[in-house]
Amino acid sequence: MNSKTLPYLLLAPATIFLVVFFLWPFLQIAWLAFTTEGGFTMQHFQTMAGNWKFWPTFWNTVILAAIVVPLQLVMALAMAQVVAKLKTTRNTILYIFTIPLGLSDLAAGIIWLAIFEQSGFLNSMLVGLGVVDKPILFLGYQNLWVIFIAVILAELWRATAIVMVILVSGMGLIPKEYYEAAEVFGAGPWKRFVKVTLPMLKPSIQTAMILRTIAAFEVFAVVVALGGTTLPVLVGETFNWQFALNDRNVAAAFALVILAISIAATLVFLRVLRTPKGATL
């Protein structure tokens, strides 16, 4: 085997996979979004942006992500700190924390629906305790913010553990000596977290943030389960245009908007959480 061809040969399976399952569908979507009867057009994007639902949909998605992802980071850091400090029960706690990861997002949405719906656990409890006389309609269109909160709770419950798993493995890579040096040179527990853990965890935080933000922009099943169409989000609208309104071109335009904000967020994280040259372990 020629040593010059070997690297290309090893790269080939991944390249073929990406071309077939990513690049080719992407080109198809782009084609759908930018053409009409074989010619270039912006008409589908105009249709998309001209629809009254577009901007609420766009902002719902972005605001949801902007609330959920930072909260997940903070919670995951706390959970990872707890797991990293444990000695004997570390794995048990880690497994318990990660149980929700095993559920599909639709199932997670249904679990939270069972809590919040009119005949759900929360209402039964409130009635049972005598706090309210009759069940409250939490998830109605009059209370958009309740649906919002329910979606945030469901998303936090469902997907925080993936951030934690990434951070736990990142924390495991920080040599103990750095903490000891920080301790000797005057840093208490909080300073050690801020001056050693956080900066040295930056590559892991970057990975987790990119992963979670992209996933948050794709939020769909949880929102559908809890809010139906009351709380429209980008992927929901993509689905709607594709299957309800039978306009594949506008659906493709929506898909490209999701791709665009995902790429933008990734670039921001790559830039903001970059590690200067030479500042790695």
Binding site: Y178, E180, V184, P199, K202, T275, K277, T280
Partner: protein, 347 residues
Amino acid sequence: MAEILIKGVAKSFGSFTALHSIDLTIADQEFMVLLGASGCGKTTLLRIIAGLESPTQGEVWIGGKRVDQLPPRERGIAMVFQNYAVFPHLTVYENIAFGLRMKKLPQAEVDTRVKRTAELMHIEQLLKRYSGQLSGGQRQRVAVARALAMEPDVILMDEPLSNLDALLRLEMRAELKGVLANSKTTTIYVTHDQVEAMSLADRISVMNGGHIVQAASPVEVYRNPAARFVGSFIGNPPMNFLPAARNGDGRYQVAGIALDGPSSGGAKLEFAIRPEDLTIAAGGLKATARVIEPLGAHTLVTSEVDGKLFRAVLDSDLKVAPGDELSLVPKPDRVRWFDPETTRAVN
């Protein structure tokens, strides 16, 4: 003023006892080296003094204050770690400034101290770099500068030179000695390298199996080992040992010759001599040369005396071949005796 007192410090990890009731006093501004093979407890003792490990028993006092219940940052110490622990996400400047910033010193003071210690360690041109852009030797300098910048009462060093290559180690050793002597701090330095220990220390504490076997000046440790272990551990090649038994006229019989022994000695002793304290003359120990290693200044002759391995460092002009019979006479004032039961020196 920072005298260090260690009183009855013991440490166990489960059923394993790493330190057995250590007592040690280190004078203000003294350079104390803890020397021993790996697993002897020297690093554990250092970490207990630092506060990174808590003793199972005993007390640690620094500068007249009991510190064994205090966290490291309240002990007035600075430390240089074996793997340097130079923070990769901070520049050299910020690494040196780390402890000063934790103390919330004014920026002007931080700047003065960082620049001064950086100059002292010859790294002033590296202040803007990250540790990933430094060589091992440069990182070592940053680690030392970070400790010195604290102007601590005590500097603790855990095998600071062991990750450097031989030539650099030699250079840093001399530099460290000069810098630390000028800094007027008390230094505790852990190493397994006896040459490093000899060249740096005011006093060496030789450790073995969780005990301090001897704590004395380098020459004292070399010339008058307090126990057989010290003689066999220090010196390259180490001391020679032969069994000795008292004969009828009160002298000791060693491999066929009679020598004057200590008056307080028992019926059986162990005779010890350093390889360089042997000369070729009539009436000495009968040795059969086995391996001849010319080293330039000297020739190292490994021989057999009474079936036991016996080394002599002889003049390199001497013509000797494997199989030759030699008569090795020990210098009387350099002969040492050990009790075979307790392994302690007998005078």
